[in-house]
């Protein structure tokens, strides 16, 4: 899929040559559960990249400034800050453990020198402030340089403390803790375009919060049936519209997406729009509903489209048309004839995420065997790439990968039966402005950049 990006035309995903840039994480064969990355997110400028893991830790990487003296460190990401966001908790009433796994991280737009992000586990959302300190005061009156208090009666003269530079220290502190509003497990958080509110969604309910208020939230969607025996559908993801602060969407386990308008009523149980692709009843099987379950929903940056990810495909929807998607991209259709074993090993329940490129011209999502897929919406071309340490020479180009289904396997292809289903790429992120992507492969974080960059 090589080719130079055109002179004046916007380059699509496949005009780019994706190259290995960096890989973070240990090389151990034995992966500790806590090290499994559970979320990846760039901030609004793309200068910061946050990861959350099953051990409740957040690691933030910062992009190095382009430096003439070190031309090869072309925008590399290095560790900026790391902290323990959530710890395991125990619900004594139900004798249930509350996992510390970070389900989602969402950045707030930057408003001052500090950076803010929301991170959540199954039950509690926290607002973290990440700030830099590069100065420290010296020459206090009441205490020594080593902090010991001076005897006030011995002080004969006063001095003004002076600020002296110190090595950069990045501090993370929890500024708000939003707890006890979800009976079920939180799967999504989304910051509103008003920069004042955000939503949190669990399996059955969605709540609206104000960033300043921790002891109160408003329930805006409630899908809990009066009788739990009648439960047929759960909420799988939710997101606010990027520009319209009154609009949000939520997706379901039945493959439907609802768009809600908060101006219409306080409780948005009735949707404003209902997106569902009609199903051919003759093709229905035991697996139909399971594989139609939407694992992720994302608005385009433009706000005109949204994308849904189900088990085998990614669909792009025009918000003005509810009846069917405008694009359907097959991620790994060859798995359709493996559904029985994928059901037995639970892989059929894997929740893959998806993301848009900054210009919305391309979309990306993960697959198995550490493969990930990119679809160029303009050229209609797609490519399968692999996140692997075997291809990790600096600036090495990624070679497109191919899965073969038939008996005849070409030399560079891999057969469906040889795919490693334990190597899943569930979380990927695309830099908001440039062609840099972050791909989480179990406990390793890969960063790829394009050659043109």
């Amino acid at each position: 899929m090589a080719g130079a990006g055109g002179g004046g035309c916007p380059a699509g995903a496949n005009d780019l040559q994706w190259c290995f840039s960096q890989v973070k994480g240990a090389i151990d064969e034995d992966v500790a559960e806590a090290d499994i990355i559970s979320t990846v997110e760039f901030n609004y400028s793309g200068d910061l990249l946050a990861t959350g893991d099953k051990g409740g830790r957040v690691v933030i990487f910062q992009r190095e400034q382009e430096n003439k003296s070190r031309p090869h460190s072309r925008g590399e990401y290095n560790v900026y800050s790391t902290f323990q966001s959530h710890e395991p908790e125990f619900d004594y009433l139900k004798s249930l453990e509350i996992e510390e796994k970070i389900n989602k991280i969402r950045w707030l737009p930057q408003q001052n020198a500090a950076q803010f992000l929301l991170s959540t586990n199954d039950k509690t959302i926290k607002l973290w402030k990440i700030s830099e300190r590069d100065k420290r005061a010296e020459g206090y009156n009441l205490k020594d340089e080593d902090g010991r208090l001076r005897d006030p009666f011995r002080i004969t003269a006063l001095r003004v403390p002076i600020l002296k530079p110190m090595d950069l220290m990045v501090e993370a502190s929890p500024r708000r803790i939003f707890a006890n509003a979800h009976t079920y497990h939180i799967n999504s958080i989304s910051v509103n375009s008003d920069h004042e509110t955000y939503l949190s969604a669990d399996d059955l309910r969605i709540n609206l919060w104000h960033l300043e208020i921790t002891d109160r939230s408003f329930n805006i969607v409630d899908m809990k049936p009066a009788n739990m025996e009648e439960l047929t559908e759960v909420i799988t993801a939710a997101e606010f519209h990027p520009h319209q602060c009154n609009v949000f969407v939520h997706s379901s386990s039945k493959g439907t997406t609802r768009l809600c308008d908060m101006r219409s009523s306080a409780l948005c149980d009735t949707h404003s729009k209902f997106f569902e692709e009609p199903e051919d009843p003759s093709s229905r099987s035991f697996f139909s509903e399971i594989i139609s379950s939407i694992s992720d929903v994302k608005f385009s940056h433009s706000g005109r489209y949204m994308m849904t990810r189900d088990y085998l495909s990614v669909k792009v929807w025009d918000l003005n048309m509810e009846s069917r998607p405008v694009e359907t991209h097959q991620v790994h259709e060859y798995l359709r004839s493996k559904l029985c074993s994928l059901y037995e090993n639970d892989c059929i329940f894997d929740k893959f995420e998806c993301c848009w490129s900054g210009s919305d011209s391309a979309i990306m999502t993960g697959s198995y065997n550490n493969f990930f897929r990119m679809f160029d919406r303009n050229t209609r071309r797609d490519v399968t790439l692999e996140a692997s340490r075997e291809n990790s020479k600096p600036r090495a180009s990624l070679k497109p990968r191919k899965v073969c289904t038939g008996a005849k396997r070409k030399r560079d292809e891999i057969s469906v039966d040889s795919l490693d289903f334990s190597k899943k790429i569930l979380h990927t992120a695309w830099h908001p402005a440039g062609n840099v992507i972050a791909v989480a492969a179990t406990n390793n974080l890969y960063i790829f950049q394009d050659k043109v960059n």
Binding site: Q22, V23, A32, S95, T232, S285, E289, E333, S337, L339
Partner: protein, 116 residues
């Protein structure tokens, strides 16, 4: 449909017992039902949802355990099925079912070491 790596399916009218004629999904469904004949008649739905809502490690509770034992008297306590994490019916975690202790919290490996 069509194109590299895509399974092309043909409907054969009439004899639906011919495996070649069935959609790959239906063939997979037949495989599954052959392995697990008692699998619910309704398509994958509520069972999964309830399992999903109950996600979480249930721990040993001596109060529950002793009360259940007293109720059962001579009968055996229902033990954990193949899926130890699924809490169903009267299942109460027993000391034998206890999960391994989690290891202590340390700094993420993403933040340490040289790598690259």
């Amino acid at each position: 449909a069509g194109g590299p790596g895509c399974v092309v399916c043909y409907w054969l009218l009439g004899d639906t017992q011919e495996k070649e004629g069935i959609l790959p999904e239906r063939a997979e469904e037949a495989k599954l039902k052959a392995k697990y004949p008692s699998l619910g008649q309704k398509p994958g739905g509520s069972d999964f949802l309830m399992k999903r809502l109950q996600k979480g490690q249930k721990y040993f509770d001596s109060g529950d355990y002793n009360m259940a034992k007293a109720k059962m008297k001579n009968k055996q306590l229902p033990s954990a099925g193949p899926d130890k994490n699924l809490v169903t019916g009267d299942h109460i975690p027993t000391p034998q079912d206890l999960p391994q202790r989690k290891s202590s919290l340390v700094t993420s490996k993403l933040a340490g070491g040289q790598v690259e």
